[in-house]
Symmetry: C2
């Protein structure tokens, strides 16, 4: 099975030997090592109960931050309240009584997205980026069949490329970062929610209904998202870009707006057209927690 | 030995078994398949004569365009007047009477840059980008020890990312491409040469001498170059970025201006500072044709 331990929620997925999902579960994350372990165990138990299974063979875990998957050590997982290196794989294995492998959450989601593409009839694409469009903006990279982590664990951190010179202030300390324009938090800031409807849903609905300001907010967002996709394609030339994260729940209207924007950008450029960027984009399926699913696929083979 | 067949010149390098350079040669390229073969043979002969060697063991060749190194086929090498697929490795092998391997010129230069880093005491860095700052702007990528060519042979084409929205017109059909600001041709356009001095040299000299407009041109150029380096680091997280191409002949003043700009950009951002981007940058050595050198390292092992 797989766990995706995020800043706000911990998700679990139980899969069978063929990768079919048997059950899922979801619990609010509690920061700190003790909280993370507690919630992980509870979410695992909940998913197992739903699947009618007593004990998993092994557990793969996706977490934010810099993850040494060989050593099972996690650090800089700021959203989880973990900064200093922690041997989380060992702690979780002890707690759950099964073999555990930890991986960066974006990498786990990238592995999940690969399998989703296979299932969707896209063939076995071993070359893709998973673009996580959540609170922030970052990508996981599978290049020529290998996860690209980077020399400092920072591959795919495209959210902090400058999109607008002198633009909106970013918590990272720069101005005009792509993440300030293409992310859930960017839409939250541009379109504060009054009634609890998530900002992406509210913006797209209002734009669809003809609200001119919402259309402007949507256009700015989609243009920045297209820029992010273009960075991934022109730098890494990935075969597929899978859009995931909370904002991807917008579904087809998001995909349509993005592919239209990419087509507009390519219109005057034979070079861009030859790269067929819009054709490379896919949406992560709304129902499946891709990160936890990918973590399950990364679960160690051995039992303990 | 190695050949680097570029749009304007064909360069050859003869190396020994330890990778030491024995001789180099350089001839103007003649476009078209017949011209390319003719000039290649002449340049090889010239370099061999300079090295006092009768016959090379094998030849590696770097060329622009989409190169299938397995099949020895080259296409879209527009600067060489080759558009349709041509089995250039076979033609060259027939002409030169030795085994030939073709590779994309940026990839060859990347392999050359790796060896140069070893020689410079930087250790064996198998993770780097070679940023070619010539007429255009593009990068070769060696990630985790493997050349990253990309799904469409377009990895590293960062010159056509948008740097200035609605900016200078690019031959690619877009506006504001990074290449229009960070390249030799960008400096040619911004600082037309009156006396045959290359634009990069003229701009940096005038800026150094206090010319305010030259300082502005230099600042715009360096800022765009820093943006290119940042794209490579935040997307691929390469351990080193080696600046090569004709403009790199500027040497230390270029490196100093670039690292100062990167430091300025990182000043307010703990995130950027943690990535130590400026520390990753190196200059390709001015005296060595890195592309031809890398091509020599890629020459096939077998004799014919």
């Amino acid at each position: 099975m797989g766990l995706d331990i995020g800043g706000s929620k911990t998700q679990a997925v139980v899969i069978d030997d063929d990768g079919a999902v048997l059950a899922t579960a979801r619990t609010p994350t509690v920061p700190g090592v003790a909280g993370v372990l507690e919630v992980a165990a509870a979410t695992v138990a909940q998913a197992l109960a739903a699947a009618g299974i007593e004990r998993p063979r092994a557990v793969g875990v996706g977490l934010p931050g810099v993850v040494d998957s060989e050593g099972g050590v996690v650090e800089h997982a700021v959203n989880l309240g973990i900064r200093e290196p922690v041997g989380l794989a060992g702690l979780l294995a002890g707690r759950l009584g099964v073999a555990v492998r930890c991986e960066n959450d974006l990498n786990a989601a990238t592995i999940g997205a690969r399998r989703v593409l296979v299932g969707s009839g896209d063939g076995d694409v071993d070359d893709l980026a998973f673009l996580a469009l959540g609170t922030g903006l970052a990508a996981g990279l599978l290049l020529d069949g290998r996860l690209r982590r980077g020399s400092h664990g920072a591959a795919g951190e495209i959210g902090h490329l400058i999109h607008v010179a002198g633009g909106l202030v970013c918590p990272c300390g720069q101005r005009g970062c792509l993440e300030r324009y293409a992310s859930g938090s960017a839409l939250d800031a541009a379109w504060p929610s009054a009634d609890g409807v998530p900002a992406p849903v509210a913006v797209f609905a209002a734009a669809q209904a003809g609200d001119a300001r919402a259309q402007q907010v949507r256009a700015t967002f989609v243009e920045a998202l297209a820029a992010a996709v273009r960075v991934l394609v022109l730098t890494c030339d990935v075969r597929r870009v899978v859009i995931g994260g909370g904002v991807a729940a917008l579904g087809v209207p998001l995909l349509d707006a993005l592919t239209a924007e990419l087509a507009t950008q390519a219109y005057g450029s034979a070079f861009l057209r030859s790269l067929a960027i819009a054709d490379r984009v896919r949406l992560a399926p709304a129902g499946l927690p891709v990160g936890a699913f990918g973590a399950a696929l990364l679960a160690p083979d051995e039992e303990v």
